[in-house]
Assembly symmetry: C2
Homo-oligomer: 414 residues x 2
């Protein structure tokens, strides 16, 4: 079974907005064994919409539209789908009544155009939308002798998601041929995408029944394994077997075998060991702190730290001796060490991290170029410092630096 | 003139990847007076591609494909476009030679499949790609009696962007009817999108020749004004006049009239006043520091600060008295004040900021619910504290809190 997703709205054809709803729908559909074969974005023009719905009906088993169900003149999806199918629209008085009640409850006068949201395509099942005024519609029809499902969904993400899960998932599960899908997500870090792929492709190529996707972003590699079988046990066994072989190959480059983020893993290890962490960041300017504290519950293991952009604050907050700064410069192995050890001591944390480097685009020299970063991790036994030369722009250098720092903490705790 | 952008690649039909190249292309095309009418994503299947290129040729003046130009069997764009047009492919020996030279320079053996990248559609101009192995192609053709431009571009963003700017922009400027486009971007903050729209819609609706787009993200409102006229002076005058009237209406809610970010504006004001800033963050966990230091040159005015997640660090790094913590709790007006004043004093900054709150999803009480945040700004004259109750999830509460804090600093410096 394949699907075409049509996102509707002229704002999605500007430089400022992109469709993200389709990623959510794709994830849900894949788990039901449905592949997304086409995604199309169309503006609020009726003829374009009618043509596109017909194109989609001719090439996909399931056609899902998103958006264009609101009350304004720009909202043309109902009319366009009805026209493409040659079906009529009828105003559903029960929906009109519910709309009036909804507005009355908020003591707002309902304008007439809202009634358009009660126009239902002949034969459609109405999909209630508790988070918005426009209901969705579900059509199970025969088009040119083929059975087709046509779903009209609202555009706002929170409306679409809850409506899809509550109303479409159960219907799709009932309607589609039974297929059981098992998935696993492995994550690795501090390895390039092509290097990772070269090492594991010979393995996953032996599992033609498992779909393997590799995604890389800022030093983070995500491997998604997905397999569909008539029995869930068979699918799970294949996915687990392949995951095990990939874990054997990549070893401790893999930090997560269940999809957790690196921040989550570091916090989990800290808690497991009863350890605490503090950070002193120069070039990453709080990004490591921000990443750790983005996780709820991080306060159990992450105490906090210092953002020490100026040399004075390196001394004041992390106790870096002024002589060390003068002798080696702010970007040096010695200052990274002093930052890690100083913040550890001043915060009474079990582990201290120090990061100093040149994030660019300015401030580099021949000896100390943009991208040079020193990262130190100190505990009560030892302080380890690594020197890295990251490529790319300021954002990338900062991201890779925090990724490396988190990975060093993970390895220290392993 | 209108355009269809076709993004090619099965990975773009997974839940994990979305097309972002098209936003870049749309921005460039709009400035040339070209509207994007359709965006389509197709997988690596030849017949789907051929069909889609034909659909696009029938409904758009300019058809741009992105991706599918590499050396592997999945890269089918050249073949598919040639088939859709009924044109032949010819291998260009000069490109083959350049590929061999490129591989030789890196001391890598070139595999045979790379030669496919030298296959050129009859009549196409070759678009050199200095950042990758696969060149683009430019076709200026007549299809069903209509003149059409067909552009084949590489998929990797850095290849596509530089190739488009270097090779396609000049050709498009020469080919397309002359039209001069003026743009302005205004930014406002701490106002809802619908409230902002309600206030300015009566103004921009009087300027039908200026396209006004409103985007809202995490407390940041961006207003894009764009106008095309035969003379650039006319276009600029209309855009500037509308921008001026919107600025009059929204007053100091507008923080930027040339598109700068709030971080940039705060740093600019700090530098202009010869002032320095330090931060002490609890619930935002370094996000404000990270936002400020994401700007190159921020070290001139931003000294750094403390991430004080634990109560101990609030005292150790920002000098918050333990009695204040005991008496009022960590999330209180008094602790925010002490954080701002303490960090200012310890860092010798002209301005200190303190943020404390409950980012959730856990940790809220009836008295102090999730989303309650206190933000204090201290200088040598006074300390101002605001209490906010932000809605949404952890990420949203943290984003809005830093947005509010940055805006308070901006207002203090105005």
């Amino acid at each position: 079974m394949n699907c075409e997703i049509i996102a509707i709205g002229s704002e999605l054809l500007t430089p400022f907005r992109s469709d993200t709803n389709s990623l959510f729908l794709t994830e849900r559909l894949n788990k039901l064994g449905v592949q997304v074969a086409f995604k199309t974005i169309v503006g609020d023009r009726q003829q374009d919409l009618v043509d596109q719905v017909r194109i989609a009906l001719n090439r996909a088993d399931i056609v899902i539209t998103m958006g264009g169900l609101g009350p304004t003149v720009d909202d043309l999806t109902r009319e366009a789908v009805a026209e493409a199918l040659g079906f009529r629209l009828k105003r559903d008085q029960a929906i009109v009544g519910a709309l009036y009640a909804r507005f009355a409850a908020r003591r707002i006068q309902m304008t007439d155009n809202n009634s358009r949201q009660a126009d239902v395509i002949d034969g459609a099942i109405i999909l209630e939308n508790p988070n918005g005024t426009a209901p969705g519609q579900w059509l199970d029809i025969v088009y040119n002798t083929h059975r087709k499902l046509v779903l009209l969904l609202p555009g706002p993400p929170h409306e679409l998601k809850s409506l899809f899960d509550a109303q479409c998932l159960p219907r799709l599960t009932e309607t589609l041929p039974k297929r059981h899908i098992a998935t696993r997500t492995l994550k690795a870090t501090m390895i390039g995408e092509s290097v990772a792929d070269a090492r594991i492709a010979p393995i996953y190529n032996q599992y033609k029944d498992v779909e393997t996707t590799i995604l890389a972003h800022m030093g983070d590699i995500q491997l998604n394994l997905i397999c569909g079988k008539p029995l869930i046990e068979l699918a799970q066994a294949r996915v687990d077997e392949l995951a095990g072989r990939i874990e054997d190959e990549l070893g401790d480059l893999i930090y997560s075998s269940q999809g957790e983020s690196l921040e989550q893993i570091v916090l989990y290890y800290l808690e497991m060991r009863g350890a605490t962490l503090a950070t002193a960041e120069s070039c990453t300017g709080g990004m490591m702190a921000q990443r750790l504290t983005s996780i709820s519950g991080s306060s159990r293991s992450y105490l906090g730290g210092a953002v020490v952009y100026s040399n004075e604050l390196k001394t004041a907050f992390a106790g870096v001796p002024t002589e060390t700064l003068a002798l080696y410069g702010a970007v040096s192995r010695e200052v990274a060490t002093a930052l890690a050890e100083g913040i550890r001591q001043r915060s009474n944390a079990s582990i201290g991290v120090g990061i100093t480097g040149i994030a660019g685009p300015n401030g580099g020299t021949e000896e100390k170029p943009v991208g040079l970063v020193y990262i130190a991790v100190a505990d009560d036994q030892q302080t380890e410092v690594v020197e890295k030369r990251f490529g790319g722009d300021r954002e990338r250098i900062r991201q890779w630096s925090t990724q490396q720092a988190l990975d060093l903490v993970r390895r220290r705790l392993m």
